[in-house]
Symmetry: C2
Subunit: 369 residues, 2 copies
């Protein structure tokens, strides 16, 4: 099997900017090439675009705009987890020998057509994600006797961590009281329990071990990949207080990497809403069921950035097609000790969890030095 690593990355600040998708994609692609002048564009034999935009043929468009003439060029969509799915696709092209070096670029506009899944009639008249997030929240709180105050700590922690991320949408710090007094969106959700859709762009280059050896930057390897799709419709979830797709995907990824969850030093997980963080932590085995609020509070009190160091989706913002790539870049930076004020000590292995549509599918990556 050909070993695959992340050779370079480019990311720009998330915003509410109104900009064409092609130009957005190019923002982080351009940043990547400026920061990595040793990469010869003639060596790039794949361009994979992650987005929910309705624009077509974005792979070849990004290739042309970047001055690349690759073999493969495609767009990949899987709602909120398009980013990690594009990374997995690039990995498979390289690991199978079809390509040696692939540019993966993801971007989204704040008004993405991926923000609501119209198909899912199981949500009744309520197709916005706040609907399923409310049911998850109510269910999780009831099952484990968790209070609104407990869950508010997720938002407080992630906004605090985002304050140390120069690319985050949010630059503000909130208290538990701020979260609890923010606008009530549904019976179980406050505005500050929700991540915000935004405009963003993030890019990485994946390369085979042979190609990686030509670069001066420290290689970060993708050692584990796990994916699981349980359904598309929300009500087909078999539990509303745990995430089967995250459990299965992380088991597969950790097994492939020959790692235990206790070996993971940094985690980027898909906190689309406050409740998603404890649910994902528990489903992936970082804590027993119903016990992760304790872990989250401890991390927060000790300023330990282990979980969602860049601020997660809640603090950094959620530009769908860019999110999984931005999460991956964060773990790469943590492994390379380039995370500045949000650096976690002694990171040897990190994990990315990216999911879609009411947790009906998850992708998990394990990254190592």
């Amino acid at each position: 099997m050909i070993r695959v690593g992340i050779a370079a990355y480019g990311i720009v600040p998330f915003s509410k900017e109104d900009k064409k998708i092609e130009n957005l994609l190019m923002d982080s692609v351009a940043e990547l090439f400026v920061k990595n002048p040793e990469i010869d564009k003639r060596d790039i034999d794949g361009v994979m675009v992650s987005t929910n935009s309705n624009s077509k043929y974005l792979g070849p468009i990004v290739a042309e705009m970047s001055g690349i003439q690759p073999k493969a060029s495609v767009s990949i969509e899987n709602l909120c987890s398009s980013g990690t799915n594009a990374i997995v696709s690039a990995y498979s092209y390289i690991a199978s020998g079809l390509a040696d070096m692939v540019l993966v670029t993801g971007a989204e506009r704040f008004d993405s057509p991926g923000r609501v899944l119209d198909w899912d009639d199981s949500r009744g008249e309520f197709k916005q994600p706040v609907f399923w997030a409310s049911l998850f929240t109510k269910s999780y709180k009831n099952q484990f006797s968790i209070s609104e105050e407990d869950l508010a700590v997720v938002s407080v922690k992630n906004h605090k961590q985002a304050k140390n991320n120069p690319n985050a949408l949010s630059g503000r710090i909130f208290s538990v009281k701020d979260v609890l007094s923010s606008k009530q969106v549904t019976e179980d959700l406050r505005l500050l329990d929700c991540s915000r859709l935004c405009t963003g762009s993030a890019s990485v280059i994946l390369a085979s071990k042979d190609v990686m050896e030509n670069f001066s930057t420290e290689p970060i390897w993708i050692t584990g990949i796990g994916q699981k799709t349980t359904s598309a419709g929300f009500t087909k979830n078999n539990s509303f207080y745990s995430i089967k797709s995250a459990k299965d995907a992380s088991n597969t990824a950790l097994k492939m990497a020959k790692k235990d969850v206790t070996d993971i030093d940094a985690v980027e997980l898909h906190d689309a809403f406050s409740v998603c963080e404890p649910m994902a932590l528990e489903s992936m085995g970082f804590s027993k069921n119903g016990k992760s609020i304790k872990l989250i509070k401890e991390l927060h009190q000790t300023d330990n950035f282990k979980v969602n160091p860049r601020g997660g989706l809640m603090g950094a913002g959620h530009p769908l097609g860019a999110t999984g790539i931005a999460q991956t870049i964060e773990i790469v930076q943590q492994l390379q000790e380039r995370s500045g004020a949000r650096q976690i000590d002694d990171v040897k292995a990190g994990l990315v969890h990216n999911m879609s549509a009411a947790a009906t599918s998850s992708t998990v990556l394990v990254l190592e030095k």
Copy 2:
């Protein structure tokens, strides 16, 4: 390297039907499972959807509607060559060891948003494909002293061949005179020189060699894959009477398969317009430049179905996301001697050429028994 083959296929008649994309995808998926009862859906660990539809999350939706709970599920778009790109993606998942069996399903509606590439301002005010096809036609005719009558034979041959394909959109036979008296669309194009966008659906299952051994059907192997993206914008083509993307992609695919072009017994190529057939044949080395009209006429006169046996895009219709998959199914059927009245004698190796956006990108597959 894990060997990858095509284990099963499903296809339904192309039409002008007005139907939801989810249901269209399911048409050929259902056909596939009805025809292949020995396939256990629990063994399918990937679902890849090929379409230009703006609907999101179609991978998980098809999975749920089919009763599959795969690992990976994504949508893949690259305009008219989305189908072969999805097949290549599935191949890479299996060859890299991430999956053992992947369902690839492609569908399109007649009114697909992929029918015009709005981004390509290099086409001036003329964004419809007839624009670039006209320039290709004028250029090819001038370069090689080819007449309108000569090119009309492509349409006559492919409609004749489609008459033997029960899934083809066209059921009519035309003479050279019919083509030349059909509506003049541009100075260089008649209506019968153009393939027609339509509604269609086609599915295949790819599997690893180990999985293939469990099935009773004759395995067909994907032995060569080649892809090339030269640009996205039409005017960046370096020639208007040959196709660099097809040349590069077929060279790569044939090299990977350790085959010469003379070893290929059946070809499905991307005849979006009459002129595309000789251009693709010449660029891929089936004939010297400017000489393939002679070959096409010979094939037509001798009722040899070697090139575009199912009738090509011109005869079968062009449902963008389904086209590359339908082309691949045709070669599988030819290799398995299941093509009925359109069967080519003694097919040992076949080639699929699928392209996008004024030939700016091509994907080529080599298939063998």
